[in-house]
Amino acid sequence: MKKARFTALQLLVHGAGWLPLAWLVFDFLTDNLTANPIQAIEQRSGIHAITFLLFSLACTPLASILDWKELPLRRKALGNYGFLYAAVHVATFFILDYGLNLAAIWRDVATKSFIILGAIAFLLLLPLAATSFRFWMKRLGKNWKRLHRLVYLITPLVVVHFFMAKKGDLLNLSGDIFQPFLYGGLAVALLLLRLPPIKKRLSRV
């Protein structure tokens, strides 16, 4: 008998990866994207991007905790879905929101540090997405792993970008901060789990 081509986890990852995009398109076609659809696309694609980045970051520590060897193999796909939604997010901003009016974009980007942080995070994501093909993995060898450690920088940038995009004040602990708090807490936890002393303890469990 022929072996199944895809594992259940693989199907789950790819299903989950495309579902939010399908949902977004469905809501767009059924005029279900609020009275302010462009902003809704921006916000939803942004949340999806962070979610998949965190999923991708969760693979390694969860693999040690659950002793689930297949998880790290799905890391890359999850990261790529994170990039997909980040790209939708950025494209919406440039094309739909600002109609490629570079002067208006520049005027606003220059005065809004949260957009600058988001832009840096996206620029750093580009080489990771571009080198996600097997060809580049082989070609870069050890450096591939080094390069992809950039995600440890990208994640905090994205979380801070999210915090600042919300109508609230983190230092005051007031405003619309629950959701960024949730994502920020997860990001911090997932990064802490990678610190050598904690990592050692995890793998011993």
């Binding site: 469905f26 279900n32 302010n36 462009i38 902003q39 929101d97 208006a104 004040d169 405003g175 619309d176």
Partner: protein, 313 residues
């Protein structure tokens, strides 16, 4: 032969209007059955424009069309219910807006409690078509019904010590689920300088689009200050207080570096999050330039003569 129709046979207007709505809804229902499983919200969505919405004009004085009633009553920033703008209408649907009382107190000669119904009788509603510019860089054109705030203030006679007006939103945690959020210094409060409050453009709205003011739009009674960012136009007011000191306001308490007391629409003063130079009119695709004082500069700029508006944002 002349056979007059007995009056009992004539369908009252309200009934046939709602019947027409029902037929329309039934059509939508049938059409969306197939989608119902994946998008139950389509079925629960509040009804679109009632057939009978009367307004005195179809545009504002600049010639821009009114936003649809549907968009106005389904896209609301009202954190007492939820931070989800599209979720407010559903959560507020059973919120009672009538009867509604407003207490006017503080530095006035005759402090009083008013019922909104009585206010409507004393000050016959007039229509004002105003642009509403949210600090989040979106805007709408809305036909309000109501009366100038100055009429109410003149009734209670502010004393010479009164310099500011403080407004407070109703606080009903059992009916307003957003009030359970611990991150906000509830209740919502706002304020105006007395001369701003007395300006003829400053309006108390009790109706919308020729009808009543729904809960999600700020009913029983709300403030509308069209040259300021939307958050100044406080909803569901239960207290109005004349004070000598500048009152604290909700958003400037949360993030004073972002939201000032004045909050005049000003494309020249940046906000760290949203463009204040441009905005998206709900229903339009392209951004449009934001006008100083939201297009009301001619009427209100003199209130701020000599003030540094970059400092007093």
């Amino acid at each position: 032969m002349n056979s007059p129709i007995p009056s009992s046979e004539i369908t009252p207007k309200q009934a046939y209007l709602s019947r027409r709505d029902f037929i329309k809804a039934a059509g939508i229902l049938a059409g969306s059955m197939a989608l119902a499983a994946c998008a139950p919200d389509l079925l629960n969505a509040p009804a679109s424009d009632p057939a009978e919405l009367t307004t005195s004009a179809k545009t504002d004085e600049l010639g821009d069309p009114l936003n649809s009633h549907k968009d106005i009553i389904n896209y609301n920033n009202y954190y007492e219910f939820t931070t989800d703008k599209e979720g407010v209408a559903r959560l507020a649907q059973n919120f009672p807006t009538s009867p509604w009382d407003v207490e006017v107190s503080g530095l006035v000669k005759t402090p009083r409690k008013f019922g909104v119904e009585d206010l409507i009788k004393s000050f016959p509603p007039e229509e004002r078509i105003y642009r509403l510019r949210c600090v989040e860089a979106w805007s709408m054109v809305i036909p309000w019904l109501g009366f100038p705030l100055s009429k109410l203030l003149n009734l209670v006679e502010p004393t010479s010590a009164a310099k500011y007006v403080r407004f407070e939103t109703v606080f009903k945690p059992a009916e307003m689920p957003g009030l359970k959020e611990p991150w906000y210094p509830w209740p919502y409060q706002e304020g105006l300088r007395l001369d701003e409050a007395m300006h003829d453009l400053t309006f108390l709205a009790t109706g919308l689009y020729g009808g009543e003011l729904p809960a999600q739009s700020g009913g029983g009674i709300r403030l509308v200050v069209p040259w300021k960012y939307g958050f100044k136009s406080i909803k569901a007011i239960v207290k109005i207080e004349l004070t000598a000191e500048q009152p604290a306001t909700m958003w400037s308490a949360i993030a004073p570096n972002e939201y000032g007391f004045y909050a005049n629409v000003n494309p020249a003063v940046d906000h760290p999050r949203w463009s204040q130079a441009s905005e998206r009119r709900i229903g339009e695709l392209a951004r449009r330039d934001t006008l100083p004082f939201n297009g009301y500069a001619e009427q209100v700029a003199s209130l701020y003569e000599g003030m540094d508006l970059a400092k007093n944002y």
